[in-house]
Symmetry: C2
Subunit: 447 residues, 2 copies
């Protein structure tokens, strides 16, 4: 990682989703921020690391993956042909056996995979958050994470532990805490209420799965007489810090609540489709009404990749298939993957755009693969969304530091491969199995 | 391209969709066919080209892309946010201006893109088929193609020209003819009837778009009192050589006709979703009833990539989203992309599998990218379908010849880049526009 100024020279730049690309543009990143964008060479430009873009590179804002279970790369390709509830029982079997070692290796593999597909940060909900935080810090990306409140826990102790964790973890620019409550069906409602209160108090995201399946909606209605988002609202858990993940079964009138309270939604199309949760995430209505919409891949066990290029394409395809028209366009999903996710994750202002004063998070993308050609100013946004699944950055900057470059590329790939080998050994060691009891988390609050 | 024997040593091999993978396996390909599979070294194994697989490579059958308009890489990212009929008017504008030069460059870019995503052959429907044939021969892949019968043509002259073309083109192992009739709405019905008759006579595929949109079904019912597949049947155009592309609006009882007559269906999920044609391709019912189902990407203007890994994943995701369950599994789409497409294209027996006597079409796939890890025997099929969008072959063999390898890799990428640059210049030269009249094709039959 390099802390010197970075000067990107002569680049085709997409400054933001829906922005006009600019050709032959220079960018100076220094002291963690974007300091200059234009066609000259500002003072000091040549004193640090210089990238000459050439014809096969474009500069784009970073993606942020607003919903992951990073360490679930451990479970990639594992029991992949089942619906959510059956699938969960097999996931829980492995999760009951895993320890911090596997969580670290899984997170490391995930972060390297994300870097290689232009993602500079992620919001995580998984066990052993210290391990994901360690991987994020070592590799230099942004992470928002915390323990997952789920299972048979004492809600007060669980939230207290999560709050303490958030205070402890938020030490630097990169890693910050969130309050993760699994869902209204797999955590006590008191933890939902109290978790949200604490998130508001600390000014950090309150991150929860909601309205993912029809069954969840049905059970909520039967048990509480309320729809899931309506229940969150009654619990006082709907506000600007609330991040509602999935929402494929959200009712149209519940969108009004989300809008009124200023919460964010996270769309995870590939995972929803793979687990056959059906429903329809109302991306267009949400965005048009001004709700902040983010994009996430979910974990590698239900996707099974963490590639935000693929996720953007899948989002448009799924949305058009559901709406029977093309109202959802490239710019919508590009916005969700950049500024939408950044806002849900409460990242520094400007994250997800390339403008002066924004954090120095950007990607020099190698578009030399045949799939992303021919590429021009006029089709750049289309290519990024529909033809870039194989696009790989030559450089990734996070907070102004170069975290992926030709200099460390091979080393990162070797680390990912070594981690993957260890994860495979672990899977082979424990063998197949299932359990109907979710793991209790965080440990200190298990009853 | 190398004609010597090729010996693949110590590989993890997936012999076919749904087959058990075998580890530490050797394969000898000689004189265009697979000659040996096992754990020894047959005589002559070391006399030719030897590939040592190592831990980051797997050997899989080739994919065949059963529906393309290869040269439409020219139109990648061009006017991508519109529904089918509006989109077509913009495509036709460019197509009226293009000549054989652009068709050649577009096809070349497409074939290189396909090789880099493990595809050894394609069935094409586009103008200037000689140019696609030239690109296929130069690059050593299989192609099935012919002029497209569409617009205001004399049906007899058009079919005669197409038949003459098919006889002329079918000279070698790689390239063969098909009878391409655009659709029941963009070509004369006499051309459908006569085109199919000639295809049967010549024993080559009869390749037609059918039931792609609700409008097409509505118009057919209004004009002819019949559903599109039913109309094909009445015209006598439904048989073992018929390849029906899209079929998202096929009626459930029309499936019975397809089954009875032994026709193939081609699923193009990404293109259908991107153009918002909606409907539901009945993949599970078709496969369960014994109908041959193939997979295709359609052209790069409506997908916008020719990556069969992505297409397989999209197919499962779309199908699960539509069925609300996980009945469609990795093995289904892997079968469609390999043996299903091979059968629709009428390729040599065994194509799409790795077994003794099958044609020497196979791929040594580099799975070292972090997205496709961890990979084991037990999750190989899952990884190939759900986590391989970035997987790139180290070697591709078609008909026993090495057509992609580390030795020619850079050269191919440079050729693709040069072609892409020329295509962009052409697009910039003609500028935007639209026309409501489809191009008339083949030229010699235009009235």
């Amino acid at each position: 990682m390099v802390d010197d100024p970075v000067f990107l020279k002569n680049c085709l730049v997409l400054p933001c989703a829906g922005c006009e690309p600019s050709a032959r543009t220079n960018i100076l990143v220094d002291d963690r921020e974007i300091r200059y964008i234009g066609d000259s060479e500002p003072p000091g430009a040549r004193s640090g690391y210089v990238v000459e873009c050439g014809r096969r590179h474009v500069v784009i804002p970073c993606f942020y993956n607003a919903h992951t279970h990073a360490a679930m790369t451990l479970l990639r390709g594992y029991y992949g042909d089942a619906e959510l509830h059956e699938w969960l029982r097999h996931m829980w079997w492995v999760e009951k056996h895993m320890g911090p070692g596997e969580a670290y290796l899984g997170s490391k593999l995930a972060v390297i995979e994300m870097l290689f597909s232009a993602t500079c940060g992620f919001m995580d909900m998984y066990f052993f958050p210290d391990e994901a935080a360690r991987a994020a810090r070592e590799l230099g990306v942004r992470a928002r994470l915390g323990p997952v409140i789920m299972g048979r826990v004492d809600p007060w102790r669980a939230v207290e532990a999560a709050a303490a964790y958030a205070k402890r973890i938020s030490g630097d620019d990169l890693v910050g805490g969130v309050i993760n409550v699994h869902s209204i069906y797999a955590a006590p409602l008191e933890a939902v209420r109290e978790g949200h209160r604490v998130a508001q108090e600390l000014g950090i995201p309150f991150h929860i799965h909601v309205s993912e399946t029809r069954r969840e909606v049905y059970e909520a209605k039967k048990r509480y007489g309320l729809f899931p988002v309506q229940l969150l609202d009654k619990l006082g858990a709907l506000s600007k810090v609330s991040v509602l993940v999935h929402a494929g079964w959200i009712a149209s009138w519940e969108l009004g609540l989300v809008k009124e309270k200023g919460a964010s939604l996270v769309h995870c199309p590939a995972s929803n489709m793979k687990l056959a949760t059906a429903g329809h995430f109302p991306l267009y209505e949400a965005m048009e009404s001004g709700i902040n919409v983010a994009l996430g891949t979910d974990g590698a066990a239900s996707n099974d990749s963490l590639n935000m290029f693929s996720e953007m394409k899948t989002a448009v395809l799924m949305q058009r298939h559901s709406y029977w028209d093309t109202r959802v366009r490239a710019k919508h999903v590009l916005r969700a993957a950049t500024t939408g996710s950044a806002k849900a994750m409460m990242l520094p202002s400007g994250a997800g755009t390339i403008r002066i004063g924004a954090p120095g998070d950007l990607v020099v993308l190698d578009v030399s693969n045949p799939s992303s050609q021919p590429l021009r100013r006029d089709n750049l946004e289309q290519i990024l969304v529909y033809s870039c699944e194989k696009c790989t950055p030559s450089h990734v900057l996070v907070g102004g530091r170069i975290v992926l470059s030709p200099e460390n590329r091979e080393k990162l790939l070797e680390e990912a491969a070594r981690a993957a080998d260890e994860l495979s050994k672990f899977i082979e060691k424990i063998g197949p199995g299932e359990t109907s009891e979710p793991p209790c988390s965080p440990r200190e609050a298990c009853s």
